[in-house]
């Protein structure tokens, strides 16, 4: 019997989910390549968690098709559960139990032999460097250590797909980086597909493929480079005080520019009329200090969604 070759870890087709009159997910379609690091980017309430809850079989969809590792969600939900591990936004660890208890009990949820469970846990402990924490209670761990255990708990059955719902929310920048290195290590060493949701643009930038979701709809997708190329321009920052003569020259040159009060300089965008190098040469008499910057995911996000990312998350 030939085994069906599965190309995608996740395939979502025309997925719809509503809460009353609110369409949390509105006819979205995308796929996640096996072994890739996939980022689902969007502000809070964009529909990211709803989508992954459906993929994880926790939430029922209204319409559409979902396939995980080639398995149809409508027919093989129980089998899909064996193929995925999910790290929730809020930790689901039992605070009064030890790391060892948490992992051992979670491992019994899957029909694995005792030996297999032991082996899986030993591998994860080694991979995530948890050996010293095994006898400690979860309540005694730091935020970063808890996150590591959360990830380990999701991996006790060696899933093919690891889903992480905003894994670094609430962590300090240093711990966030540590978690990121860990996710990268997991993917490199296990070949597992990693599907993460995030509203941190710098996190999405490290993914192999990004899908941007806003108000329940996919509004852009591509690799981070593709998104930046498509939705941002490179620009020059010409540092200095406000200079009417410089502004007059820029207007005459029909440049797209503005003065940035925070950075104390003129931001001059790249356009088709001239290269950045030509601009620097052209306005060299007004420029003492300058910097050439590539467009960021932040810029791409603003251009894609039409609104500032921070505005949405905080407002």
């Amino acid at each position: 019997m030939s085994k069906k070759i599965v190309k995608y870890a996740v395939e979502v087709k025309n997925l719809v989910k509503s809460y009353g009159h609110v369409k949390a997910v509105n006819d979205i379609s995308f796929y996640v390549e096996k072994g890739s690091l996939f980022a689902f980017l969007g502000v809070n309430g964009a529909g990211k968690s709803t989508t992954i809850n459906i993929i994880s079989t926790i939430l029922k969809k209204d319409a559409g098709k979902v396939y995980v590792e080639g398995l149809d969600l409508d027919k093989d939900a129980q089998k899909i559960k064996n193929e995925i591990g999910i790290v929730f936004q809020n930790s689901v660890l039992d605070q009064h139990l030890t790391v060892k208890d948490n992992l051992a009990i979670r491992a019994t949820f899957y029909a694995l032999s005792k030996e297999q469970r032991k082996e899986n846990i030993a591998n994860i402990v080694k991979l995530l460097d948890l050996d010293e924490l095994m006898k400690r209670r979860i309540s005694q761990l730091s935020g970063g250590q808890k996150r590591r255990v959360d990830i380990a708990r999701a991996m006790v059955h060696s899933p093919k797909l690891l889903i992480l719902d905003e894994p670094t929310t609430g962590l300090d920048p240093k711990t966030r980086q540590a978690v990121w290195r860990l996710i990268d290590k997991i993917r490199r060493e296990t070949g597992m597909t990693v599907f993460l949701t995030t509203h941190y643009l710098e996190e999405a930038e490290q993914a192999g493929y990004v899908v941007v979701i806003d108000r329940g709809q996919i509004i852009a997708n591509g690799t981070p480079i593709q998104l930046k190329n498509k939705y941002t321009n490179d620009y020059i920052i010409a540092y200095g005080k406000i200079n009417p003569a410089f502004e007059k020259a820029l207007k005459l040159g029909k440049e797209d520019f503005h003065y940035d009060d925070e950075r104390k300089g003129y931001v001059i965008f790249h356009n088709k009329r001239s290269t950045l190098k030509q601009k620097i040469v052209k306005y060299t008499r007004y420029i003492n200090d300058f910097e050439v910057l590539k467009g960021t995911m932040d810029d791409a996000f603003i251009n894609i969604t039409g609104h500032s990312h921070e505005e949405e998350n905080h407002g």
Partner: protein, 332 residues
């Protein structure tokens, strides 16, 4: 066939591991254990400090209201009265402890742990009955501890007349009524989603249940309509069963000290015997004259056991149908 056997074994393993998990999560929080046991202990302290003398004088008055009755010493009345109250409190604590223990189910809903269960290939039925079994174990252990407290109290008061067989019967009845309480409270908690709601339910149940099932006061003191309604509460029958277990030997020992009318008052009015559907409210003198209890029906322990056992099966069945509520994920 072989595949089904593997699945069954796997479900058993998950059931025991989940029960173990629930047990560990609950017992490692020592404060939670302590406060759960405090409720019946506080009721016992209130009884010792305030209610004991009050109850004694009211029983003494009822017994002495029979003309030509025997003179009963307070020490004899106290043996029966203390056993009556303590057995009622044990029955009540089986329900109150069980309800408080289910705090774990609500916490699992609130903290999103149910989502983790939902994402794993485990059945809702297994999760639901692991909660129920865990609840049974914890409630049994804590109630057992409280029963030991009641034994110590009786011994300190020189009122311990229970035989080894009585003690065994008490523990047997305890396991039986705790199972009933666990099935009942797990069902109730399947409909509760927040800690705040559970706290309100515990407050209401703690305030009312002791009276409704006849733990704190004899059922015959209730309005007639309430007497008929409480017949349908399994806790009423559980209390009567526990009363039987605590009082049968002391009553046999001291019964001859009373005349027939006095004994009828003691056993019928204070609620050792369960009597339902009387024509009117029971009055001591009428009871003495009419041992058929004004047309009412006396519920014997065998019937009480059948009611408790039957309701346990019904609650267990309803838990099966309510399993989706028990492991609800509250995703919005």
């Amino acid at each position: 066939m072989a595949k089904q056997r593997v699945i069954r074994m796997y479900n058993h393993e998950v059931f025991f591991q989940l029960t173990k998990r629930n047990f560990l999560v609950f017992t490692r929080n020592k404060m939670r254990m302590f406060f759960t046991l405090m409720v019946p202990i506080i009721i016992l302290i209130i009884y010792i400090l305030f209610l004991r003398s009050l109850e004694l004088s009211s029983i003494r008055e009822a017994i002495n209201s029979i003309e030509g009755g025997k003179e009963i010493p307070d020490s004899t009345l106290l043996v029966l009265m203390d056993s009556w109250f303590l057995s009622g409190n044990v029955a009540l604590c089986s329900i109150s402890i069980s309800l408080q223990t289910n705090n774990l189910i609500i916490n699992d809903k609130e903290n999103g742990i149910n989502r983790d269960f939902a994402s794993a290939p485990i059945h809702k039925t297994v999760v639901t009955f692991s909660y129920m079994f865990f609840n049974f174990l914890i409630t049994l252990i804590l109630s057992f501890a409280f029963v030991l407290v009641t034994f110590i109290f009786l011994a300190c008061m020189n009122e311990f007349y229970l035989t080894a067989l009585d003690v065994l019967i008490i523990f047997g009845v305890l396991a039986f009524i705790v199972l009933n309480a666990s099935a009942f409270t797990t069902l109730i908690c399947s409909f509760i989603d927040t800690d705040a709601t559970l706290a309100s339910v515990i407050a209401i149940v703690s305030a009312c249940l002791g009276f409704l099932i006849g733990s704190f006061m004899p059922l015959c003191l209730m309005p007639k309509v309430m007497q008929d309604i409480v017949f349908f509460i399994p806790g009423t029958h559980a209390t009567a069963l526990m009363r039987f277990a605590y009082l049968q030997t002391p009553l046999a020992k001291f019964g001859s000290d009373f005349d027939a009318s006095q004994l009828a008052i003691l056993t019928n009015q204070v609620g050792y015997n369960l009597i339902f559907y009387t024509r009117d409210m029971l009055a001591p003198v009428e009871l003495a004259v009419d041992p058929t209890l004004q047309g009412g029906t006396a519920i014997i322990p065998a019937i009480q056991s059948a009611v408790v056992g039957g309701s346990t099966l019904i609650f267990g069945g309803l838990n099966f149908f309510s399993r989706k509520n028990t492991v609800r994920t509250n995703i919005k």
